[in-house]
Amino acid sequence: MDKEVFPLESRVNTPVVLSVSGLSKSFFGIEVLKDVSLELRSGEVHGLVGENGAGKSTLMKLLAGVHHRDSGTIELSGAPVDFSHPTQAHEAGLSTVFQEFNLLPDRTVAENIYLGREPRSGILVNRKAMLERTRELLDQLGITSIQPSTPVSNLSVAQQQIVEIAKAVSYDARIISMDEPTAALAGPEVELLYSIIGRLKERGVAILYVSHRLKEIFDLCDTITVLKDGEVVGSQPASSMDDASLVRLMVGRPISAYFPEVTPGTIIGEPLLEVADAGNEQLDSINLALRTGEIVGIAGLQGSGRTELVEAIFGAAPFTRGSMRLAGEAYTARSTRTAIQHRVALITEDRKSQGLSLNQSILDNALSVIRSVFPGRTNQARQDAPGVFSSLEVIARDLDQEVQYLSGGNQQKVVLAKWLAISPRLVLLDEPTRGIDVGAKVAVYNLMRALAAEGKAILMVSSELPEVLGMSDRVLVMRDGLIAGELSPTSTEEEVLQLATGARTEETPS
């Protein structure tokens, strides 16, 4: 994943394929984009960064023809365009890969890619031609792991993301905008995406790339444009920026320490959670001890059993063999309810489908655990709520606002708040910072440090290696449902990846 893998030639002289100027958009009187201008050149990867709510998604939707601009111009290769429907954007050579998948699960990869424009012979769909074209398309992009005839439901989330990208490419797009394409990817899949982007660049395709992962932005992008509160606050060659300067532009203030130091006075104490020889259908031979005040990170590829491990400890998909002890006493997590009664919390990977009731208010969501498991404490928790939200720095209209209207970062804070209400002893976090802005990430990190200082034990699953290494006291690496090894936080990302992919055990020390 090194920058050197895809040498970035200077593309300054390639023609401008997309030129946006003075773009503004208001929703109900509130300006979401103000006078935004940017240029995309052929073969350029243009990073678009900014906190949630900065206007990135709105900009992408204006370009894709989902929304219509209030003022400003959009020019494709010098010709002004005015899309009123996404189909027009496709036809003009501008494709968008949105964060939400638009795939039909029971149709094949080929059918999904050519949905609505299937190659025909007479009035019938020419399936053979469709499969061949799909094969060609996937080959061009260097995708060998996906078969055109596989139903989409048989693909992993990561592979589905790749299909979405292939679909965007299939429109003969000259410009592709991607909204957090790596949100569902890990390790080798990210590398596949990198190589796809490399190939697209060679073909002269311009890419508008939205991501929260700074490493990717610097790995991939030639130019970076930063949006803040709907305005462009900077647009520079990537080579002239670094992490710190980029973060400062995004949040408008320097973030002194991206990963906060261990809170003074944090004591790593007695073992709180002990797991011995545990396993179930997805996991085997799990042995681990987690002590009070300790943050342990779990790294591994998608599907390596990371999520399954925290779900087993939480009783959502329990262990079927082995034993667990919590604070010295036997602990059997038969159900999530038992786990919660033992004051174990799980912040799930997908906050929208697993963490929140989106139609309910902030307050209702924050009280949901208490109401389900400790209903007698509801009034107490309700009175505590403002304090909890204040310490998490939640920004909202008020506590009666429905959570669906909050930004990702604030939604994640609501999830955290509902678990803080039970004063958990053991906090399990699965991808706690996925898809949230830098400011919210730092708030999550600070909270983790504060919880550790209070003597809680924390187990964090994350695909972001800098996060795992930056926050953990120890790192467990999982592979194929087993704990492949333990590393210290001073290890390098390469060492983690070697363990996670099995590269390390295979190439026995020479």
Binding site: R337, S368, R371
Partner: protein, 368 residues
């Protein structure tokens, strides 16, 4: 002591400051389909009174409320099931079965009224328990479970009665449905069904504010998330089915009063109740809607039928009208819902501020 009371007061005050005001909440509620039904109800009442001014007299209105009480109570019961994301189609047959039980087990014996009433509630709870357990534990869609239950119960009643009216419960029992508190100023009479309805509605309102009620809505909104917060989804939903059957039982008890004992009593009740709930803006699939809106939906529906009656439309049109309403109401709710989602940005960009900022940084307001 006063210090802790003070602290308590402050905490409540901070909480109140970070919530919407009652007026704001009311205004927002009125803009949802669940609030709109009250406006619809008022408009229909005005129309009926315009068509027939005598309908607006207090005595006439209170009798109307009494007549509508059973369906409104059934709608409240149906609400619990629908808001949890399920259906209860067995409701009408439960009414029929309960009417049959009352008619045959009580007979002329006043002393049997209370024990049989007890039995009817146990029977109602039992039917709900079966509906709930089969739906949640055996994972059969509630649509099918309660459809089966509807046919099974109806078949048993028809078998037992031969399809004809049988039995006639003691008059003291029938008084529950047809009697009332007499010699009340202005109203002349307060029918018992009105009192039963008010108590039921108050109890339902109270229950929906309790942890159980909030969890029920959360389960209907996102059952996976609710399960991960430790809610026993199967038990939460099963209790909703029991509440539904119990409310059908109450409706049945009232109906014995003025409709008498006949296997046709209660027929179609499930659909009328579902129509009322849907008209109340409660989203099929669960997670949205207010319990009293379901009751208001029932009143709006009955008011509409009264209006059509006054306008000379024959009552045989009733089913067709109901059918059209259920389709239109669901379509309208879906449209409103989609519009809300598409216009989501409007809410995203409502003025926001940090929740409960500590006093020291109170001046550091972050605007829009």
């Amino acid at each position: 002591m006063s210090v802790s009371e003070n602290a308590q007061g402050t905490r409540n005050e901070i909480l109140a400051r970070n919530r919407s005001s009652a007026g704001d909440r009311l205004l927002r509620a009125l803009r949802t389909p669940s609030g709109g039904v009250f406006i619809l109800l008022i408009a229909l009442l005005i129309a009926v009174i315009a068509a027939n001014p005598s309908f607006g007299e207090p005595g006439s209105l209170i009798r109307f409320i009494g007549r509508t009480a059973p369906i409104a109570i059934a709608a409240i019961g149906q609400y619990f099931v629908i808001v949890s994301g399920e259906f209860d189609l067995s409701m009408g047959s439960v009414v029929t079965a309960q009417v049959f039980i009352a008619g045959n087990l009580i007979g002329d014996d006043d002393a049997r009224v209370l024990p049989v009433l007890g039995l009817m509630f146990v029977f109602g709870a039992f039917i709900g328990l079966i509906n709930g357990l089969v739906t949640t534990l055996l994972k059969v869609p509630s649509f099918i479970v309660t459809l089966g239950m509807m046919l099974a119960l109806l078949g048993m009643v028809l078998y037992s009665t031969g399809g004809a009216a049988t039995g006639n419960p003691a008059d003291s029992f029938r008084q529950i449905g047809r009697g009332g508190i007499r010699d009340v100023p202005v109203l002349e009479i307060i029918p018992y069904p009105v009192i039963i309805f008010v108590v039921t509605a108050a109890a339902a309102l109270w229950l929906m504010r309790r942890p159980y009620g909030r969890t029920l809505i959360a389960v209907g909104d996102n059952s996976r998330a609710a399960a991960l917060t430790g809610a026993r989804v199967w038990w939460v939903k099963t209790r909703a089915f029991m509440l539904s059957s119990l409310s059908a039982t109450v409706a049945g008890i009232i109906l014995v009063g003025y409709a008498g004992v006949h296997p046709s009593v209660g027929r179609g009740y499930e659909f009328t109740a579902i129509t009322a709930v849907v008209l109340g803006g409660v989203v099929l699939g669960g997670g949205r809607g207010w319990v009293l809106s379901a009751a208001a939906g029932a009143f709006a529906l009955e008011t509409l039928f009264t209006l059509l009656n006054f306008l000379g439309v024959e009552s045989t049109w009733r089913d067709s009208v109901q059918g059209i309403i259920i389709i239109v109401a669901v379509a309208a709710a879906a449209q409103t819902w989609q519009r809300k989602r598409r216009g989501a940005s409007s809410r995203t960009h409502e003025p926001t501020h940090p929740i409960a900022p500590p006093p020291t940084v109170g001046t550091n307001e972050r605007g829009i």
